[in-house]
């Protein structure tokens, strides 16, 4: 077992929640985990990413080497492409379709989606829609986690267990919304 995942987004979008849930699931399975994050300056609306590495053996580098990521999980379409050099030839992009436009010259959306299509095997997800269906727009991230779950290398039950653990202290309701969000994302991916 050996998975390298880049989680991408914009500062404030909450990519670390996704990372934390995967971490929990991996740790429960006794796997090694390394997760490099971005703190500080870029969090102010800048591009942020997390390098998440899971393995049954010792992990050395905190950074994923170029060309070695199995998955880019992005909650913003342009951000998915920023980390393309990290993606392995067989790697997959799973991205949300909703752009986050906080810059003056955001690329044309259609061209952006075309570039993603040309770049790699990909799955684009209208995560906002599914999150609302799940009962809370805030569950956007967890929808994306669900959509990416077939590529993470960890069983669905283990990820759901981690979701319960992660949201547990926020109450049953939040756990249920996020579990639903996860399932809707996963269903969409496996349809």
């Amino acid at each position: 077992m050996n998975k390298n995942i880049i989680i991408a987004g914009v500062g404030g979008q909450g990519i670390l929640t996704i990372a934390s849930i995967i971490d929990l699931a991996a740790m429960n399975l006794g796997l090694q985990v390394k997760q490099a994050e971005v703190h500080g300056m870029s969090q102010r609306g800048g591009a942020v990413e997390s390098h998440l590495r899971i393995s049954s053996e010792e992990i050395y580098s905190d950074l994923i080497p170029l060309g070695k990521a199995d998955l880019i999980l992005s909650i913003e379409p342009m951000e998915a492409l920023r980390y393309l050099p990290f993606l392995s030839p067989e790697g997959v992009i799973v991205t949300a379709t909703e752009p986050y436009k906080n810059i003056a010259h955001y690329p044309e959306e259609e061209k952006l989606m075309d570039t993603i299509k040309e770049s790699a095997t990909h799955l684009s997800v209208d995560a906002g829609l599914l999150a609302r269906k799940a009962g809370s727009p805030k569950s956007f991230n967890v929808v994306m986690l669900g959509a990416a779950s077939p590529y993470i290398g960890i069983e669905t039950e283990e990820l759901e267990k981690a979701i319960r653990l992660f949201f547990g202290r926020k109450g049953e309701e939040i756990v249920n919304v996020n579990t639903k969000a996860f399932r809707l994302g996963k269903e969409y991916a496996t349809e």
Binding site: Q35, Y60, D62, G67, L81, Y106
Partner: protein
């Protein structure tokens, strides 16, 4: 003990708690901030208390940590690399006095300047001060070496530096804790010849520090954190700190017959180095930071046996990566895709609704009336006023430099001489500069952009909250020229008028622009 998933910074914090510190003293600064924040939210399990509130700057933090050490207790002080410049006077002299209770100085360096003005290498400071450095390669070592650092400090009676880069500080991994140790009892030192650095004492102490160096080298040679991984071929890597991870990543992935000397404790272990350099003939030196030890090993005139940052095997600037190591070790890595040209940059920016925004609107409007626009800036979120749409500030050098540079420029004849400084930066090192201006009656206008917090580093308490008016008054700024304003759209007219009035005043004026940070207001 149970396993925990911790950031490198948090592993240090947990280890310091488990090593029985009685206090942590720090001023925030990426990538060191999370150490103190972790201690603030997790007091020791045995009910003992650990003092942990933020200090006003790194120098006050360092000195308080030294005072706690004088009293016989263990203390931790943390800062980012440039923070050590501020604490340098205390740091250098604490190496001469030595310590009583264990003192670990954690310095977080920022190679690649993710959130800093430079990428200075703190190991140079430790070499300068002649104290040991511990440079963990991973999170477990960050934990283990912090604990070890306190023991070493008490054994050799010196402060010990723990150096980590951004990448380790901000990366998580599982760590296993050891059994926590009790805090030291109060037992003040009282050794005057040691603590009073009058020349007669200091000369002896400095001599003792020099004599201690062999003991420090021996400690490095026998350290469990330094080790050789042998191989048959002629190639080797001397990998320092986190560079070890990148080296091992490449060696393991491509199954290379390359020997590795891992170094995590300094001064350089002499025996290990001579053993390694005697056995291998083609050696790459991999340091995260300046080529400090490459220069030393290679010598000024070079030595073909060693490769590294001087000959371009590794880049001279920026942080290391596994790919850079692979290239330096002559591995053929696969072609990788490039970033499509459609991807636009997404720089950090001021938040929507941020008080600094309304302030910059007012400043820009007033400055339009002058042929040249100069605004001496400082460090904090408001530095982002340098970027579009504001393009408002002209300088950003080091904390506090806005006021003093405006003063020097005013002395040179510049009018108006306007500067902007954040509230936390003002108490960190702006007050002394303002006092200089008051004493000279220099015609400058200082804007304190007071958002009630240290926002850039995540919203820590600001040392002088609610007292800026009285501080300015107390050091002699005339009351009619201390002008509070509220930066809001609806006040743009009035704020611009006040700003203009003070720019016309030929003496020291202070505008206190006060509105809460939008991020802390939300919490």
């Amino acid at each position: 003990m149970q396993k925990q998933l911790l950031l490198g910074a948090e592993a240090i914090a947990q280890a310091a708690l488990d090593a029985g510190i009685s206090g942590v003293y720090a001023y925030p600064g990426t990538p060191s901030t999370e150490i103190t924040e972790f201690i603030q939210r997790s007091q020791p399990e045995n009910g003992a208390s650990v003092r942990s509130a933020w200090a006003t700057n790194e120098k006050t933090a360092f000195e308080a940590a030294l005072g706690m050490s004088y009293a016989g207790k263990r203390s931790l002080t943390c800062m980012k690399h440039v923070g050590l410049n501020v604490a340098a006077d205390a740091f250098m002299n604490a190496a001469i006095t030595g310590i009583h209770g264990g003192l670990v100085v954690t310095v977080a360096d920022d190679p690649s300047m993710h959130s800093s003005q430079n990428e200075q290498d703190s190991r140079v400071y430790a070499k300068f001060a002649m104290i040991p450095v511990l440079e963990p390669a991973n999170q477990q070592e960050a934990y283990d070496m912090t604990r070890y650092g306190f023991e070493l400090s008490e054994k050799i009676k010196l402060p010990v530096m723990l150096r980590i880069p951004t990448r380790l500080s901000h990366s998580r991994a599982t760590i296993t804790r050891a059994i926590p140790r009790e805090q030291n009892d109060l037992s003040p030192s009282g050794d005057k010849t040691k603590w009073i650095l009058l020349p007669a004492n200091a000369r002896k102490s400095y001599q003792r520090l020099i004599e201690k160096q062999q003991e420090l080298i021996d400690a490095s040679d026998s350290s469990i954190f330094n080790k050789i991984i042998e191989e048959k071929g002629p190639m080797g890597v001397i990998a320092f700190g986190i560079a070890y991870n990148y080296t091992m990543e490449v060696v393991k992935t491509y199954n290379l017959p390359i020997a590795v000397l891992k170094i995590s404790q300094y001064p350089l272990p002499k025996k290990l180095i001579s053993q390694f350099t005697g056995k291998y003939s083609d050696i790459l030196i991999a340091e995260e930071g300046y080529p400090v030890y490459e220069e030393l090993l290679k010598g000024y005139f070079g030595n073909g046996k060693f490769r590294g940052k001087f000959d371009g095997a590794l880049p001279r600037t920026g942080e290391l990566t596994p790919n850079l190591l692979a290239k330096a070790l002559k591995v053929d890595t696969e072609e990788t895709r490039s970033i499509p040209s459609i991807v636009a940059g997404r720089p950090p920016m001021l938040c929507k609704g941020c008080s600094h925004r309304d302030l910059f609107d007012a400043i820009n409007r007033v400055m339009e009336e002058y042929p040249e626009h100069h605004l001496f800036g400082d460090i904090g979120c408001y530095t982002l006023g340098a970027l579009p749409p504001y393009n408002a500030i002209s300088t950003c050098v080091d904390m506090g430099a806005s006021i003093t540079m405006a003063k020097g420029a005013a002395d040179a004849g510049m009018r108006p001489a306007l500067c902007v400084i954040g509230d936390s930066t003002f108490t960190h090192s702006g007050i002394t500069g303002l006092l200089d201006a008051v004493n000279d009656n220099t015609p400058i206008t200082v804007i304190i952009s007071d958002n009630g917090t240290t926002a850039m580093t995540g919203g820590q308490n600001s040392a002088g909250s609610g007292r800026y008016y009285n501080i300015c008054k107390g050091i002699g700024v005339e009351e009619e020229h201390i002008r509070p304003i509220t930066p809001l759209k609806k006040n743009l007219e009035e704020n611009s008028r006040i700003l203009k009035e003070e720019l016309n005043y030929q003496g020291v004026s202070v505008i206190i622009s006060q509105r809460e940070c939008i991020q802390t207001a939300r919490k």
